[in-house]
């Protein structure tokens, strides 16, 4: 006895199998994934900012009156207990031998600070890093980065010293990125 299978039935079976595999693959990824993204925020700027206000390279905590404001980002968390992963960086130019400093704040509270030394006049460095914190409130958090040189002199963000500012068109940008993940 021969069994005749309609090509349409075969096609339906095949597409069903593909859908099933896709479902299983998706389920597997979900079950293995440790984190679920709840929300994200991003702020960038290529503004040519220069300042003479320093963030001294000493054993004191940088304050939000040191350096100049580079960027701000307001983010409203979605869930108490979730983790915020904050990435930040500034493109900074300072005189040779000076350190360029970028500090990350939540309102007036210092969260993190990064510094890098410039090896020559006109060179750009990009101090930055990643900071994590647990969500304790669902109120908006105002993140900000401030930058400055470590010593008396001028510092410039998104451009170079002595070359009258911006370089590489408008592509170089300083940024703050926030990703909220549920664990």
């Amino acid at each position: 006895m021969s069994i005749v299978v309609s090509p349409f039935a075969l096609l339906r079976r095949a597409s069903s199998w593909v859908a099933e595999q896709n479902f299983l693959a998706g389920h597997k990824v979900n079950s293995l994934s440790a984190y679920h993204i709840l929300g994200r925020g991003y702020s960038e700027s290529g503004a040519d900012v220069s300042t003479t206000t320093t963030i001294p390279l000493d054993d004191t905590t940088p304050t939000n009156s040191e350096g100049a404001q580079l960027l701000t980002l307001s983010y409203t968390p979605k869930k108490i207990g979730a983790r915020l992963i904050i990435s930040y960086a500034g493109l900074i130019s300072v005189p040779a031998g000076f350190a360029g400093v970028v500090a990350l704040f939540s309102d007036s509270t210092l969260l993190a600070v990064a510094a890098g030394q410039s090896y020559s006049n006109g060179a750009m460095i990009s101090p930055g890093g990643v900071y994590e914190m647990t969500v304790a409130s669902l109120s908006a958090i105002n993140f900000a980065t401030r930058f400055g040189g470590n010593n008396a002199g001028t510092a410039r963000a998104n451009g170079t010293m002595f070359l009258s500012g911006r370089v590489y068109g408008s592509v170089p940008k300083s940024f703050i990125s926030v990703i909220e993940v549920d664990q």
Binding site: T51, N121, S164
Partner: protein
Amino acid sequence: MLIEALVWKYGYAPGLTIRDGVIEEWPSTWPEQPAKKAIEKIVDDFQAQELPKVQTRLILDDGDKGLIRVIEDLVTTLIDKGVIAKADLPPAALQKLDERSALREVLK
């Protein structure tokens, strides 16, 4: 260039911030902020009088680092050839040369 021109004119002071060519903060220790025309004049003066010096200084600064090694090698050669004695050098210069020589030995 605006920030360099202002620091050249008034001397370094913290508290000056310029964003995209607009002065946001003006140092409290400086005289009152001048009008736009006067600031443009400061920038023009800076470009005409000081900028060539700044650029020359930058080139010299970069060259100075390489020249240190040249001087060090020259002094060593003169001592080796007996043209000068170590004792002829000022004590501070001799100490610096010895320190650099010792550091270079560490790298070998």
